[in-house]
């Protein structure tokens, strides 16, 4: 029976002709647009996550604590909410780091009468604290330490990146939704034409007492097929676009965002895109069927 219904649906698609092709093209366009924004948003999300991992807050200390007090100070800071890890950087280590940074100019540091660099604590915020609000509270807590001279560090720009990511995802969703509605209406139009072309079959089916699901299934199936076809084409376009553009964009992305490689959509997202397209087409077919119910 399913083979017969599928055959009827394919016959209907041939009847719908150009309108069915337009519907498939619109579904392809809407899902490709949605998928493109999704892809950019996914990669921005990875960049945000990576940069959140790299966020450090430096607590400059008034004076270098005695070696016996370092462990307890580090332990006290680690116990604070929103702190993932703490590392003590002594004055000596800070000077060594400066020398390493200066490279061939390191002898300038040797001419200093004394080590001017303060000891510090390098604090890595926990993921929950790596937001504007979380970081602000952590900065307040660290600034309140009696040993703290000054606290430096901010997550504002990471937050801005995250905001861009959310904005892109929203724009993508908006454009995708508008195109999806257009695609759905085109499928509805195609199915309405099919419904007209199919009226003799429908009449015969009803007269001989065919179950209602048999009368309706070909319309729903041809909508689902248009949707799946559009989704597969959108996926092919996305894969092709990714393979063409990713190698060209990666050096720039690495330089600006520190992402060495652009990733394609993960498998669950690809599956979601295919399912969304299929359901979109099915909904179009179902809506047309509902309007023309005798």
């Amino acid at each position: 029976m399913f083979g017969f219904l599928l055959g009827e649906a394919l016959r209907d698609l041939r009847r719908a002709g150009r309108v069915a092709v337009s519907a498939v093209a619109l579904i392809t366009l809407s899902l490709a647009a949605l998928g493109s924004f999704w892809l950019v948003s996914e990669n921005l999300g990875r960049a945000v996550a990576e940069w959140r991992d790299r966020v450090r807050i430096i607590v400059y200390l008034k004076r270098e604590p005695a070696s016996g007090d370092v462990a307890s100070l580090v332990e006290r800071v680690r116990a604070m909410p929103g702190v993932a890890s703490v590392r003590f950087v002594g004055k000596g280590e800070a000077l060594e780091t400066l020398r390493a940074v200066l490279g061939k100019d390191a002898k300038v540091a040797a001419e200093l009468p004394s080590n001017p660099l303060p000891a510090s604590l390098e604090v890595t915020p926990a993921a929950a604290a790596a937001t504007t609000e979380g970081a602000r509270r952590l900065l307040e807590r660290l600034g309140a330490l009696p040993e703290a001279e000054e606290v430096a560090g901010s997550v504002d720009w990471v937050e801005r990146l995250a905001q861009w990511q959310r904005l892109l995802a929203t724009i993508g969703l908006g454009i995708g939704a508008v195109l999806a509605v257009a695609a759905m209406l085109t499928v509805t139009t195609a199915t309405t034409l099919v419904l007209h072309a199919r009226r003799h079959e429908t009449e015969i089916m009803r007269l001989v007492g065919a179950p209602e699901f048999v009368v309706r299934s070909p319309l729903l199936l041809q909508g689902l097929m248009q949707g799946l076809c559009g989704a597969v084409l959108a996926l092919v376009a996305l894969v092709a676009g990714y393979h063409v553009l990713a190698p060209r964009l990666e050096p720039l992305i690495n330089l600006t965002l520190g992402l060495p490689r652009l990733a394609f959509l993960p498998t669950p997202d690809v599956a979601a895109l295919l399912i969304a397209g299929t359901l979109l087409g099915g909904l179009g077919g179902w809506l047309a069927r509902g309007r023309r119910e005798p």
């Binding site: 029976m1 017969f4 003799h200 015969i204 089916m205 009803r206 007269l207 007492g209 179950p211």
Partner: protein
Amino acid sequence: MVELHRVCKVYAVGAVKVPALSDVSFRVAKGEIVLVTGASGAGKTTLLRLLYRDELPTEGEVEVLGRAVTTLHGSQVAALRRSIGIVFQDAKLLPGRTVYENIAFVLRVLGAPRRDITQRVFEALRTVGLSSRARAYPAQLSQGEAQRVALARAIVRKPALLLADEPTGNLDDAMAAEIVDVIKDIWAGGTTVVLATHQARLVEGLRRRTLTLEGGRLVKDEG
């Protein structure tokens, strides 16, 4: 098999009420062949549409194959129609399908096993004398042949009741006689037949029980 009790049918056209049937009562026994005759607009088609539940009566009771059709809903209507074969003046063949496919179509939509379909289609085609035209398309058939295919499609499910609404209305006398012969064969096979026609010659030729409608009223039940 079929029973109508004080049936009235009124169509509402805007504010205007158009009576199609008035106080019609009769019974058709199992295995009987009954002609329904009357001038155009007498109510023959409305009467048949009530029998396959395409219309509901405004008043009265309609019972077909032991079911009160006014109380049927959705799948019950479909179940009733699976026991009824219907033929119209227009053969209503699907133009893009061959004779074989047109008949097989009804078996396929009803979920008949694939292995039975060919056998049953050719059996129906033999009954109407068209086995050799299985591969022809409707456009390649004469009107008489098309009507015989419609009959084959109606009987392929071996219905208990055959309703024929002016099946010879578009045919010349020779073709009409062929169709009547086929219908008589179907009836002889045990199927109850209700045949609506306005052709007096056909009624005289058949010499069977005849219900005569005039202006929606049953004025004669004889034979």
